[in-house]
Symmetry: C2
Subunit: 98 residues, 2 copies
DNA sequence: ATAGTATATTATATAATTAGAATATTCACA
DNA sequence: TGTGAATATTCTAATTATATAATATACTAT
């Protein structure tokens, strides 16, 4: 047992974030949002998924605190909420280009 | 649709890695391994899980290419296989201390 | 060969996630 | 107020992940 290990409670929280990132479409949505905010419709077009599915994924990420939403008319704009996420995604993009 | 978005195939690969990281015990094991290689027994003691469970988690991470193993006598030493993982974990540790 | 220790595998029951379809809500505007 | 567009919610079936227990393998030393 070395120093500096995270507590197990904290591991559970971080694992939960990873779980939220562990779906290909959610990850793609997040990558899109790293370029700036988008509406649900734009995101759906970008990832080619049916609207309810996109909405479900966004809701899940919002509940996890990863993205935020604001309504403008009858569009809803989503954006990255946790400022550490883009760096995490950049770290991730260096991984195994196999 | 902006430039520089990862391909969907690549998102699937990266999401799979995230899924592997999305279990509290696996994440804890990885954090332990960031301090250097350890045997299955040491890891089991560190995270307080039964031996078969630890072994299952390690096998899964090995199949994903995240860790590697070498046998020495009847101990098996595990270590981080993908050199980008520690950076990914450090990025993650900056996230939401809630 | 036998016994003991360390690690790995398998089986199974349970729980969680996912896709897909249907429907509901919210808002703008005629 | 009523219609259409954008988004959200709910439900169900199918899939996948997990925990637990039992058992198997690999190696060392006697």
């Amino acid at each position: 047992m070395k120093k500096g290990l995270p507590e197990k409670r904290r591991c559970a929280r971080l694992a939960s974030i990873f779980k939220t990132l562990s779906h290909p479409q959610r990850l793609y949505l997040l990558c899109c949002l790293c370029d700036g905010e988008s509406t649900v419709g734009e995101l759906g077009a970008a990832c080619g998924a049916p609207q309810p599915v996109v909405s479900q994924h966004l809701t899940r990420m919002r509940l996890e605190g990863i993205v935020a939403s604001r309504r403008a008319g009858n569009h809803v704009h989503y954006s990255i909420a946790d400022p550490h996420i883009p760096a995490l995604i950049r770290s991730m993009e260096k991984i195994s280009h196999e």
